[in-house]
């Protein structure tokens, strides 16, 4: 077996010569990359973030049925917004993935509803700036994400699939029903069950 060493990105950069045959697992650390952009407009950090997240944003949108060009445009604009807004990223509020996912959601709305002059993305931004929650709910973004991920891992695969589809643009409950070839009522009850399951797990983990 090849020995595996975990290094931080900074550690990796400073590591210099790397012994042959040693496989390095680089811990991708988006928080420090975003911090480097905010601090000094670090273009190498941006390129690394771009290479990781842009294809995932594109993939997520295409999985939801978005045409490749639209998914590509949203992915580019999302990473451009990450570059410009890096200083506004607050790891206490959300993890990097969650922050980037909400930027992608807002831009997807802006782009898809461009001709109707939608202002919905501004509404999400205003809510995001709202005062913190009550003290017992003051979790860091990373803690909240970890809890949500733990709760999601307890969903059945059917429930996970419904949640996944319900969260991706363009999927009304009817679309989800068509795609999974199950009745609309089943989608609604499965989604309701999955969400209440998720909520119950999150309350247990609190």
């Amino acid at each position: 077996m090849v020995p595996a060493l975990a290094l931080t990105v900074d550690g990796m950069r400073n590591a210099g010569a790397v012994a042959q045959g040693v496989r390095f697992i680089v811990l991708f650390d988006p928080n420090s990359l975003i911090a480097a952009i905010a601090r000094s407009g670090d273009r190498a950090a941006f390129a690394e973030l771009f290479d990781h997240f842009a294809p995932r944003v594109k993939g997520l949108l295409m999985r939801g049925g978005a045409p490749a060009e639209l998914a590509e445009e949203v992915a580019q604009e999302t990473l451009l917004a990450v570059w410009r807004k890096a200083a506004l990223f607050d790891p206490a509020k959300a993890s990097a993935s969650t922050w980037i996912a909400t930027i992608a959601r807002n831009l997807r709305i802006d782009i898809a509803r461009r001709e109707t002059r939608s202002r919905l993305s501004q509404v999400y931004e205003i809510l995001d700036e709202e005062a913190p929650e009550q003290p017992d709910a003051m979790l860091s973004g990373a803690e909240r994400d970890a809890r949500v991920r733990a709760a999601m891992s307890h969903l059945s695969s059917d429930q996970y699939r419904v949640v996944e589809l319900a969260f991706i643009e363009g999927f009304s409950h009817q679309d989800v029903a068509d795609r999974l070839a199950i009745p609309l009522g089943t989608v609604k009850s499965r989604l309701r069950l999955a969400l209440s399951h998720l909520r119950g797990r999150l309350e247990d983990l609190r």
Partner: protein
Amino acid sequence: MSMLHRPSDETLAAFAAGQLDEGLAVVVACHIEADQESRGRLRELQAVQGALLDAAEPVAMASGPSPAAIAARPEAASLATVPTPEGMPKVLRPYGLGPWRPIGIRIAMRRVEVPGADARVFMLRAGPGISLPHHKHTGFEWTTILAGAYEHEYGRYAAGDFDEADAEHDHTPRVDPVEGCTCIVAMTGSVQLQGWLGRLLQPLVRF
């Protein structure tokens, strides 16, 4: 402020996913702004999206502009937003508000201009003790109470509460006898108002 009535999980998930009609979304946002617990739930649902992003199968970007070229794009001027009047939810800042228009005795309405929404959005302000028009509707009627309170067969709805009614409901809210009530409403489908007040309100609801 303790809320008694909140959006269902499905409604909040659809809001978090950016899938609600903008008119309905604005009324949900007025509730979320007023309610810490719903803000916490919204953040959890946004974290679900973060997890889905991490789990997404990457699709290679076309050989388009490099990250460096993208970072160098000039920035467009940001849109100016008009400050909302005192006591109004901040989430209404991006939208135009019509003037208050009396539509009966001690009842007034103002339009909220939400471009691109299928739902009609308006605020209603009613004096203490009056009954809002008895009505039925074919679509959704979602309401967030902004000040004061009303009461109907499903309970009392006070500032910040969210009232998620659909075509099943047929109700006659009674406005709080002391505080009166101001609320924001989004309606889809058509509404059939009944009684004398309903006849007054009808042409205005169907703007």
